[in-house]
């Protein structure tokens, strides 16, 4: 049932996915949501995932990026700024 996995745990899992794909694939909010539903099934809901993304961004562990589409990324100084 949805809600069995805490939002904090989901955020940690999502952070792991973003870190694992850093430099290889831009992870969108939808990608992270689908990855969590694939992993935890009906133990999580889309709303849980939304809350986890919010936590991830508001804590500063991840930031939004935009390269043609919006993605969730690890904070870094972008190349264009150099």
């Amino acid at each position: 049932m949805a809600g069995e996995i805490s939002v904090e745990q989901l955020a940690d899992e999502m952070y792991g996915v973003v870190a694992e794909n850093a430099g290889m694939k831009k992870m969108k909010a939808g990608d992270l949501t689908k990855a969590m539903i694939a992993k935890f099934g009906d133990q999580v809901s889309k709303q849980d995932c939304k809350s986890a993304i919010k936590l991830l961004i508001d804590s500063g562990r991840c930031v939004y990026g935009y390269y043609g589409g919006s993605s969730i990324e690890l904070p870094r100084t972008e190349g264009a700024a150099n």
């Binding site: 969108k28 935009y66 390269y67 919006s70």
Partner: protein
């Protein structure tokens, strides 16, 4: 103007009868090194016939995924003033109504933190602050929010909803565009600030079919005011038009796209069952004709300008909806649409393209709407018709 600012090509743009952005930039250049380097870099672009901007993708303010568009100079050593030149989208008030006090407040904030250059307004509708450095983004945001302003949308999110001036200044408004857009912007704050879609999603609200915000052409979800009953006719005012020498037959009756009106003497007769609400007659004879009394809106979906794919016009999904507070029917519909798009959309695919790809019938089924004749945009051109459901029933 300092003597060492040599920009002969840009100087050419000051000639002629029209206002020139170069003149405005030159006014600011002595006070703002950023603007001075902006002029110098632009001159170089004109000389070399190429742009020298780089797109940034990571700059923003904490918690928000939209509202800031990163820009950097490709020649920061040559033009250090514009090494960072980020854009900030400020959420405009409904209908773009500002008091002088509000405008002064915004200008003071921007003078303190940025170049002082503005775009009133961007094509999505936001007030656009042009040109600041990364370190000034958070302070600008802090000053804006302290005075109850907010950032608009950018990236794969709900873009700042926009609307026409509506009932504030227009007698044709069939619903309160200002109230609706304000409500939607507050209701969908997360969708506006935290990009969660496949691509951008624009909402535009026009109070009548004149569609002054171009909802039919420029919005993924357009809300266009319309009426169900008859055009209101003041025959005495029609007679005044005739008496004044205004040629009602030539300018109005003969231009009706469906030929649903006629002038008999000084009396205008309208077959409202054939009226397509083009607004031509109402626009030309505004003293005699006005929109009907049973008012609401038609909802259209799928319009977009050409970016990844070609341009699309919006198609009707709901021919008539009453638009009244608390707008719950609208909220529910939008939530179903977002859910559908989340499930079926592809990256960088606008919802109109998604509907075209999977088909209108599947889309309607997913968002729980019944098909209606008004949704048909053109006759079927595929000769192969399968009535699978009928076969199953048999």
């Amino acid at each position: 103007m300092s003597d060492d600012l040599k920009i002969p090509l840009l100087d050419e743009l000051e000639k002629g009868p029209w206002p020139s952005f170069v003149k405005d930039l030159k006014t600011l250049a002595p006070k703002k090194p950023m603007v001075r380097d902006l002029l110098r870099q632009l001159e170089k672009s004109y000389q070399d016939k190429r742009g020298y901007w780089k797109h940034g993708g990571l700059v923003g303010v904490l918690g928000y995924g939209g509202g800031v568009i990163g820009r950097y100079s490709a020649l920061p050593d040559e033009f250090p003033g514009v090494s960072h030149f980020h854009t900030i989208r400020v959420h405009q008030p409904s209908g773009w109504f500002y008091t002088s006090e509000a405008l002064n407040e915004l200008m003071d904030i921007w003078d303190a933190h940025g170049s002082g250059l503005l775009n009133m307004h961007g094509s999505t509708g936001d007030l656009v602050f042009l040109g600041t450095v990364t370190d000034e983004l958070e302070p600008t945001f802090r000053d804006l929010t302290a005075r109850d302003w907010d950032l608009g949308g950018s990236g794969s999110d709900l873009r700042t909803p926009s609307c026409c001036v509506g009932p504030a200044r227009c007698e044709n408004a069939c619903y309160d565009t200002l109230e609706l857009v304000d409500n939607l912007a507050h209701r969908f704050q997360d969708e506006l600030h935290r990009p969660m879609f496949n691509y951008k999603f624009k909402i535009k609200a026009a109070g009548c079919p004149n569609d002054c915000v171009a909802a039919i052409a420029r919005s993924d979800f357009g809300i266009i005011g319309i009426w169900k009953d008859n055009i209101q006719v003041d025959q005495a005012a029609v007679a005044e038009y005739v008496d004044s020498g205004f040629n009602v037959k030539e300018f109005v009756v003969d231009n009706c796209p469906t030929g649903c009106m006629s002038l008999e003497g000084k009396e205008l007769k309208i077959d409202d069952s054939n009226c397509v609400k083009c607004m031509h007659c109402i626009n030309l004879m505004s003293k005699a004709l006005s929109v009907g009394k049973e008012r609401g809106a038609a909802l259209v979906m799928g319009a977009k300008a050409p970016i990844v794919e070609g341009a699309l016009l919006g198609s009707v999904i709901i021919p008539f909806m009453e638009i009244e507070e608390p707008f719950e029917e609208m909220h529910d519909l939008l939530e179903r649409i977002f859910e559908f798009w989340d499930e079926y959309g592809k990256a960088r695919e606008r919802i109109g393209e998604c509907i075209e790809r999977i088909g209108l019938a599947s889309f309607l089924e997913q968002i729980e709407l019944e098909p209606l004749p008004q949704m048909v945009t053109q006759p079927r051109d595929n000769p192969y018709i399968f009535y699978e459901e009928y076969y199953e029933e048999e």
